[in-house]
Symmetry: none
Subunit: 299 residues, 2 copies
């Protein structure tokens, strides 16, 4: 059921499209975590491998998804075109079938899709469609709630899989949604993204007062603080509090990142920040620049 198969160097070589000797070397020098049998055979966990691929820790390799599929115990879909995935996701969210939503995202994840891809190309468009259907009266608000909660549960499962298992200290990222904003999906995606990129993440979640966030920022010595704004209860007050936060962050040497659909052009004009953007891909790039460079970073 759980697909944490152990692979041999030959199988991994096939997936990564490199020679088996190369895989053996990467295992021996610690690039790929693996264990050994008493007889000396290397065993590599598929989950570990895909995690490395997502983190881009492997020097410029392309993953052969069809091979991954073969080794992940009879998984079908992996390399489906995006629009098929999208319509599948929309159907699963509309039907009362939480498991299907969960499986769909899990398989994308285990096939090596990055969080920013899942967010920008899969979840974002689907949520937009559902939102339109709701506004135009084609869908009930309950149906929209329900689908969203399925998505939410699936993402929380992914988060559990992204949590670091080692005790290696990581730079701290701290984030939340502003007060009055109860929409947690986008914020959760940001959390997943940062986890994937090797941060230690503290996500306070929806409806967090700015003062409380500022206090936490100081106590945790966060390198990065983000705010996901899907809805602004009181734009003017938000602008004030956010600018105070920016001031304090600058003093502490912390970067303040902003995102979310509620930050319209008018609001942005009055805001101070260190970075602002729309897509998760942009966010990912900006956040990566804050990380101490470790290992190979080609391209």
């Amino acid at each position: 059921m759980p697909l944490t198969h152990h692979l041999s160097p030959v199988q991994v070589a096939e997936i990564l499209r490199v020679h088996q000797s190369t895989v053996k070397r990467w295992v021996d020098d610690g690039t790929i975590p693996a264990s050994k049998t008493p007889g000396g055979h290397r065993k590599i966990a598929l989950a570990d491998l895909l995690r490395l691929v997502r983190e881009r820790k492997l020097p410029s390799v392309s993953v052969d998804l069809s091979v991954v599929e073969r080794y992940s115990s009879g998984l079908d879909l992996a390399a489906q075109p995006l629009d098929t995935l999208r319509s599948n996701l929309r159907d699963a969210m509309s039907a009362n079938y939480p498991t299907r939503v969960h499986q769909l995202l899990l398989r994308c994840f285990q096939a090596g899709m990055t969080i920013e891809q899942m967010g920008d190309d899969l979840i974002q468009p689907v949520m937009e469609e559902i939102g339109k259907a709701w506004v135009s009266g084609q869908t009930d608000v309950a149906q929209e709630h329900l689908g969203t909660s399925y998505l939410h549960a699936a993402l929380i499962d992914l988060r559990n899989r992204l949590l670091p298992i080692d005790g290696i200290p990581r730079p701290v990222a701290l984030g939340a949604c502003p007060e009055g904003d109860f929409y947690s999906l986008g914020n959760l995606l940001v959390e997943l993204l940062l986890l994937q990129n090797g941060w230690q993440v503290i996500n306070i979640g929806p409806n967090t007062p700015a003062a409380s966030l500022a206090h936490m920022m100081e106590r945790q010595q966060a390198k990065l603080v983000w705010l996901t704004c899907s809805y602004l209860q009181d734009p003017e007050r938000f602008v004030n509090e956010c600018n105070q936060l920016h001031h304090k962050a600058t003093e502490l040497g912390t970067q303040l990142f902003l995102g979310g659909q509620a930050l319209t052009t008018e609001v942005r004009r009055k805001l101070h920040y260190h970075w602002i953007g729309e897509s998760l891909s942009q966010f990912s790039l900006a956040a990566k620049r804050l990380l101490p460079l470790s290992g190979a970073n080609p391209q």
Copy 2:
């Protein structure tokens, strides 16, 4: 599948993800300590196996923990006194340590604790303590948010474990929090409870308009509809909508169950319902009374 301390080579092979022949060879050459029955069958102690795994003497990058759990559940620390569990949970929620919260609840679950016990005797008291600490200014609101989100994530994982895997049709229970109520923890516990008791559950979640719930109730032919009320934005309006819901439910032969701390005595006096209560244990009993009836519901 009894829970034993002693495993056969096949079971060990399953855990280590190697062939059973290999396990037999490792036992024979002394790599894995084992005893033998008079007839010559090898018996391997789980404790020995896990010790070797920890010492990196066996392939173990990611031991298939779900398999280990199946053989080891109920072995270690199962019956701790409740107040110890409570203080452990409070500590884990106060520290930034989501995994500890998760593990704690998971172990309670796997040790056979029911959802109503976990809710009434563990989570409810701890949340109350944290709430008091927050009101009295001892804790930051962010810390309270954070701990709650850890709890929420752990409960969602439990829900995934409770989801029915068979296709057997079950009676439908439908529920939500009223409009303006964004507190989802209690509602989630109700969902878990009903899943545990064999219902098919549709939980629309926080902030659901009563009209939308009524519509869904009709479409899904729910036998049970519940509302978890932690906060009432507009008590008078809620009373009106809830009573309309009760009327429609009665017409459809659906039972309307109410619960939550926001339903004070004054509010209750004006409400119509088929059941109301405070604890999950009471809820569980009331819901169980609806279960054996199947098919005796003429339109």
